[in-house]
Each structure stands twice: as C-alpha cells, then as structure tokens.
Amino acid sequence: MDALDGNAIGGMLRSAFGEEMTAATGVCATCGKPNVLAELRVYLRAPGAVGRCRHCGNVVTVLVERHEVTCVDLRGLAHLT
C-alpha cells in the first residue's frame, strides 16, 4: 500500500511530546540525513504507526496509542530538534 506522511501522526506526536512536532527535524540514525517529521514515510497499518526515513527507508519512529497512552520508539533517530 502507499505510504502516507508524517502529517498523519501529528496527533500522536503531539500527545506524546506535548507540543507540535511535525515541523521538527529528525536526523536518521542509519543514513545521517535530516527529515522534517511531516515528510517521513508513514505506514499506519503496521502494528503501530511506523515512520521511515524518506532518504534511506529505515524505520525511525514507531508510535502506538492505546487508551490515552502513547508508546514511542525513536531509536532510529540520531537527533531530534
């Protein structure tokens, strides 16, 4: 299926971080290139919402939201600013 983009996880990011995050920049830990989070390739149908680096395709974010609790895995990011 076609990927969406990071705009689609704006609500989950906001509830996890407490602020708007789609305009933030995350540096991919695999290829070292920066991604505006709104530009990540996002798959919502995986177990959790998976965000992949637009440049190299590696997984940089995984978000799971269940009953007001958001679990966040950002191990694919080297930096987030």
Binding site: M1, D2, L4, N7, G11, S15, G18, A38, L44
Partner: protein
C-alpha cells in the same frame, strides 16, 4: 487541577454537528460547534474518533476546511466504501449528533501571512480541503499575496467547493482546473493529469521563489513534488501532505 487541561496537551473534545453540506456525491462537509476550541491555522487537521458500543475505537485524520476566521469548525470527508469511519461521517451522521475529536494538529502544512508567497496550491481530489482553508484565510485577512490554485479532479461533478472556487476565480485568485477523466462540452480548462509539462505552464517562475503546497493521494503528491523539483523549484519551499485509505 480538575477541569484544567495541561498546557500543550491535546485532549479529546466533543463537538456538536450543526450543519451538513453535501459537496459532491461522495463528499460531505460537517460543520461543528466546539465550545472548547481555541482556534487553528489554515492547513491544520483534526483527529476524529468513533467508539462502538463494545468499546472498539477507530480514529482518522481530517483536514480542517474552514478558515481560522470562520465562526465554526468545518471538515470535509470523502466516503471510502471500505472505510471504517468515513461511511459513517458521510452517510449516517445527522445534525445534533456528537462527534469526538482532537486538534488542531500540524505545524508544517500550514500557511499564514508571515510566510508570504507567491503561493501555488496544488490539489488532487479531496486534497483541496486544507487548501480551501488557506484560500478562505487569505481572503479573510485581505492578503495581497498572489495565489494560484491548480486543482485536479476526475470529473466536474467531483470538484469539491465548485461554486466557491469559481467565485474566487472571478476575484484575485488564479484558479485552474484539470479534469482527468471526463470533461463537459465546451470545457476550457485542462483535461490531463498533472505532470511536469503542466506544472511548467502553471507554476510561478522559479525566480519568484514561490511557496508551494501540494495535497492529494500519495502518488499524486510524489508526482507533483518531483516534477516541481525537476523544474528547479526549491524542495524546502514545497510542502506536502499525503492521504489515502487507512
């Protein structure tokens, strides 16, 4: 403190449907009264959540169709036949019903006066929704930033906000339609898919350093954004939002 939202925290709130507007055969606008709403920026979206009797929840994102200056929040939803949420929103929801949502969400696919222009808005299908919020905002603040909309739809009947956009076209906004599948007799707009050639004709000259917003299905957005970059437009001034059945 009870009743006080934590600063910055995004909480679910209940809106009441005050009006439903059938835009096309498959799309409907939902106008909501939201007592706790604190305003939004043009281009942002909301998450809508439906809860079944057994507690099962389904959540989707929908772009805000109204300008920040409009009195009520409006979203426009396209019915996807195999969708979990859109058939209910387009077919079942009635005035007076409650709807749970949170927002506003997003700070990237947003236009406000301080960002300037000139502006090129490129819409594929229901991708026109957040761009309509930008058009309305532009008009509401009396902006003089040059604005051009290129809107691709399959047929004239599938053009959302048709009357409103036609009216904008009589004013200061340059509105161009392309109908990819079927054109009415005497159609004077474009009749082909958006590609590099069409964008070369419609986009502002590269030297104008225009700000571009592209919204539509994933394939449409990729094609348009890649073509614009190939034509020499700065990637950093092209903002994109993709949607699809989810």
């Amino acid at each position: 403190m009870e009743g006080t939202a934590l600063r910055g925290r995004l909480t679910w709130q209940i809106g009441t449907v005050i009006e439903l507007i059938q835009e096309t055969a498959r799309t409907r606008s939902i106008v909501l009264d939201l007592p706790e709403w604190r305003g939004h920026r043009a281009g942002q979206h909301v998450d809508v959540r439906l809860t079944a009797d057994d507690g099962y929840q389904a959540q989707r994102s929908y772009s805000i169709a109204s300008a920040p200056e409009d009195g009520h929040l409006e979203i426009t939803v396209e019915r996807l036949d195999d969708g979990e949420v859109s058939p209910y929103l387009v077919g079942e929801l009635r005035p007076g019903d409650a709807l749970e949502l949170r927002g506003p969400i997003g700070g990237y696919f947003v236009w406000e006066a301080s960002l300037g222009g000139p502006l090129l808005l490129v819409a594929g299908g229901s991708g026109v929704v957040p761009l309509r919020a930008m058009l309305r905002h532009h008009s509401a603040i009396g902006s003089t930033v040059p604005m051009r909309l290129l809107y691709s739809a399959r047929t004239l009947d599938e053009v959302i906000y048709r009357d409103e956009l036609m009216k904008s076209a009589e004013g200061a906004i340059d509105v161009r339609f392309t109908l990819t599948r079927e054109q009415p007799e005497g159609w004077r707009g474009y009749a082909r898919r958006i590609d590099r050639e069409l964008l070369a004709e419609v986009a502002w000259p590269v030297d104008d350093r225009s700000l571009v917003y592209v919204c539509g299905p994933t394939g449409f957005v990729e094609t348009a954004a890649e073509a614009l970059v190939a034509l020499g437009h700065e990637p950093g001034r092209i903002r994109t939002e993709r949607f699809g059945p989810s």
